[in-house]
């Protein structure tokens, strides 16, 4: 089933910051790669893609081979190419950095190879093995499940993904900054994974439409790739009412729902992580009159990436540090007017028309309860073996944000792939 997105969405106003290379650009960049032995970029990649090899294949015009090299290690190499923080992973490890030269633009080359090789009309890159008779149910259609399901399907195992939303793709569809990846690009990747033999059922919620006991009975294994829950609230006075959004909910609405044609006024973003920086940049790019990030510690303590914060600064985002929210202020009609914060023992009011809360997401207690033996740790994350995703229930595996509390897409892909490999081995 092909998902159709509304034509007019706010996210489409934000253009790609790193557009697709032309063939000549890709070759010129690929030619710069030194083809290091035992390359540090490979070790810096959570999925350990053989980066020098895929780059050399672009240099020799073997784009199909390049894409296969990528997909063999990372089935979601296309979205990872666009959303990975390459500056702190592969590109950050490039030996050119030690030479004080511009490192190889690995993300852009990876996008070039994967996008070119999966274009309509191109011959299939892989042939799936004949049916093995094994069946796996996967909960949540995010990167962890997609990677796991895709690799299982290639080995001939039936893989069925259940997704409660109307769209598959998980955070790639609902949460990635639009100047990196638009929702339709994520859905394009989902369709490609489906083409390997994966079945995706949307609008299917665990505990409502499907139940753990049924899945455990009907399938050989169950994979939990459910991500994180709803945005956390501050629980301070004035929080109930219009104008206050959870950051991920706001981003999802901006990416997937028809544009409201709304004018963003003064925006406050509470938090110092990557989601906070993302939503701040997106608001600034969508024309907010003023965007201010409010963070309770100093700038050095922020968990968001330095290069992302630099980008936000360039787009006009201000940063207020050491500020703890105390209360929201509203006028007589209930309209949001400001956020009172405590800064170094004094209190001040930051005027605003909208606030996005990027202070974390809740964990999935209800999901775990469906599967006997699956436990949660103190943070509310599912307890799983990081090498293969095994949980306290021998039939249940898990990976991605729901076991690590929120990391990169590429980490989720690595988790899903590792579980698929583990199952394949144990079924041999």
């Amino acid at each position: 089933m092909k998902s159709v997105l509304p034509q007019q969405r706010d996210e489409l106003e934000l253009k790609d910051k790193k557009p697709l290379y032309s063939a000549a650009e890709a070759k010129a960049e690929a030619d710069r790669c030194l083809y290091c032995q035992d390359a540090p970029c490979i070790k810096a990649c959570p999925t350990e893609i053989d980066i020098p090899t895929f780059i050399k294949k672009i240099a020799t015009d073997n784009v199909r081979g390049s894409a296969k090299t990528i997909f063999e290690q990372n089935l979601l190499g296309y979205s990872c190419a666009r959303v990975c923080p390459v500056e702190v992973l592969c590109v950050g490890a490039c030996v050119y950095n030690a030479w004080h030269r511009e490192p190889i633009q690995i993300g852009r080359l990876q996008r070039y190879a994967t996008e070119k090789a999966t274009q309509p009309g191109k011959p299939p890159l892989f042939t799936s093995a004949p049916p093995s008779g094994k069946k796996v149910a996967l909960i949540g259609a995010g990167p962890a499940s997609l990677a796991c399901a895709g690799y299982l399907a290639l080995q001939g195992h039936a893989a069925v993904i259940f997704e409660k939303r109307p769209y598959a793709g998980g955070l790639n569809t609902t949460g990635i900054a639009p100047y990196k990846l638009h929702a339709e690009d994520s859905l394009h990747e989902v369709e490609w994974v489906q083409s390997l033999g994966v079945e995706v059922k949307t609008g299917m919620e665990l505990g409502k439409d499907i139940f753990g006991k049924d899945l455990l009975r009907d399938y050989d294994a169950v994979y939990l790739g459910v991500g994180l829950g709803e945005d956390t609230k501050l629980r301070i006075p004035g929080e109930e009412g219009d104008g206050i959004y959870g950051a991920t909910a706001w981003i999802e609405a901006m990416k997937l729902t028809p544009t409201a044609g709304r004018k963003l006024g003064r925006v406050l973003v509470v938090g110092g992580g990557n989601t906070a920086i993302d939503v701040a940049r997106e608001c600034a790019l969508l024309g907010a009159t003023e965007v201010t990030m409010v963070y309770r510690r100093d700038a050095a303590s922020m968990s968001g990436y330095h290069h992302e914060m630099e980008g936000a600064r360039k787009e006009g985002v201000r940063l207020v540090t050491r500020a703890t929210p105390v209360a929201f202020e509203r006028d007589a009609q209930g309209k949001l007017t400001g956020l009172k914060v405590a800064v170094d023992g004094t209190e001040q009011v930051l005027p605003c028309d909208m606030v996005a809360l990027a202070i974390g997401q809740s964990k999935m207690h209800a999901i775990a309860a469906e599967f006997p033996g699956v436990e949660l740790d103190a943070r509310g994350c599912i307890v799983a073996d990081p090498t293969n995703g095994a949980t306290g229930n021998a039939k249940v595996f898990s990976g991605g944000d729901c076991i690590n509390g929120g990391k990169e897409v590429v980490n989720a892909v690595a988790d899903g792939r590792n579980t698929a490999r583990y199952l394949e081995q144990s079924w041999k």
Partner: protein, 448 residues
């Protein structure tokens, strides 16, 4: 400042840089602009009966982002009428009397050579260059390289031209031959006043894998062409040096083949060229490149205490020896500068897979390499060196095992990071001496 002027078999030129007979020397207008840019001479694009060319006619090899490493063409001699060319030659010589204008010639019968030479000399050329090199199109008609590949024929035609010519005759040689000495010495015997080499090498530059047609494509077909450009320089230098070393070759040589800058030119001159001819580099970048060629050669001569370019001619020839006269005791080993190393480990890949397995990574990699050239003499490898930039990715060299082959230094992308350091100087022990003294058998051979 050093004197760059030369006298090539009586042809005088303000500097040794000539345009080779090719598209850049196709018309008076081009040659005059070249002289204005600083070129000392031009060998006019080959004259003869005008031909009809094909389209397209050029192809190139690019390598790792570098354009036109190698170049080929299937263009023939001039497609302009003889009278037009001669009128322009006359005009050029009138305006530029001190520059060298040499007519490249190609024709068939003795009578044709006679007429062609007379008309060119009447137009005022300073010399003649016989095109016995063109490897495509003309050779099938019995000219060009088909003459250059037949020493007897070459000698005979050279002798004809010497009967008619009042100006110096240069013979341009083809490299498409087993030993360049054969046509070179034939030219000398035929009475040539000078040699020019190399002409282009017979080649197929590429194949269009979608259309399944070689390149450059003429409709749905192609043919072999002549290869030139930076890629052919080593072949050309070998052939120039071969002739320059031979005692029978007593005439000057004009060096051609991949010369793109003053350094290339200086190398050709050091190997025995008196003048150098340039084509592909001009086709790539234009006449303006000669400014640096003149300036660079001049500075080089000044810095090395030479007052004229003549002093450089053949200077590297005594440094050439046959393999059997090379010193077997001289030894160098690789040293990696840990502070410059960026940790790409290309030297490790090259040494392990392509050379002698003496470069290693990591502190635990202490095992002996899989072979030792002199078993039992190897010492333990040096402790690992930590670099400032590349950290523990800096490789280390097991120096007793290093054979000094150079490969690591050649593949290292960082200038000055890997140097080859002398560990013993020349000993005078050569293969030829070993043979003389009966020490030429090394243990481990066939009869042991």
């Amino acid at each position: 400042m050093a004197d760059l002027s030369i006298d090539f078999a009586g042809i005088r030129s303000p500097n040794p840089f000539w345009l080779a007979s090719a598209p850049p020397a196709n018309s008076g207008e081009q040659v005059m602009r070249a002289f204005d840019a600083g070129w000392g001479g031009a060998v006019w694009k080959t004259l003869g009966d005008p031909i009809v060319n094909v389209s397209s006619r050029f192809g190139a090899v690019d390598y790792a982002g570098q354009k036109v490493m190698g170049f080929n063409n299937i263009e023939l001699i001039t497609d302009r009428g003889l009278e037009v060319n001669l009128r322009e030659i006359r005009e050029v010589k009138k305006r530029y009397p001190k520059h060298a204008v040499i007519a490249s010639l190609m024709t068939e019968t003795k009578e044709d050579w006679k007429v062609l030479i007379r008309r060119c000399e009447d137009a005022g050329v300073d010399g003649l260059e016989l095109n016995f090199g063109c490897p495509h199109g003309m050779c099938e008609r019995g000219m060009g390289s088909s003459v250059g590949q037949e020493p007897k024929l070459l000698q005979e035609i050279t002798a004809w031209t010497k009967e008619f010519a009042k100006t110096p005759v240069l013979v341009k040689l083809t490299p498409n031959i087993g030993d360049i000495l054969d046509p070179g010495i034939a030219a000398v015997k035929g009475g040539a006043d000078g040699l020019s080499l190399i002409n282009t090498i017979k080649s197929i530059i590429g194949v269009d894998l979608d259309r399944m047609v070689p390149e450059p494509r003429v409709g749905n077909a192609s043919t072999n062409g002549g290869y030139c450009g930076p890629a052919v320089k080593p072949i050309a230098m070998h052939m120039v040096a071969s002739l320059a070393r031979d005692p029978e070759v007593t005439i000057p040589i004009s060096g051609i083949g991949g010369i793109s800058n003053w350094r290339d030119a200086a190398e050709f001159i050091a190997l025995g060229s008196t003048s150098v001819q340039v084509c592909t580099a001009v086709m790539h970048y234009g006449f303006r490149i000669v400014e640096d060629m003149i300036d660079g050669l001049s500075n080089y001569l000044d810095e090395h205490g030479m007052t004229s370019v003549r002093q450089l001619v053949g200077r590297a020839i005594p440094g050439f020896r046959e393999w059997g006269d090379l010193d077997l005791g001289y030894q160098i080993v690789a040293k990696i500068d840990a502070n410059k190393c960026i940790g790409c480990q290309l030297c490790v890949a090259a040494c392990q897979d392509g050379a002698h397995q003496c470069i290693f990574t990591g502190p635990n990699d202490q095992q002996r390499p899989p072979h030792a050239h002199y078993p039992g003499t190897a010492k333990a490898p040096r402790p690992q060196i930590l670099g400032t930039q590349a950290g523990d990715r800096v490789p280390w060299v097991d120096e007793p095992e290093c054979v000094g082959c150079n490969l690591c230094a050649l593949v290292c992308p960082v200038p000055g990071c890997i140097t080859m350091v002398e560990t013993s100087n020349e000993t005078g022990d050569t293969w030829n001496r070993r043979v003389q003294e009966g020490r030429d058998k090394v243990p481990g051979g066939i009869h042991e």
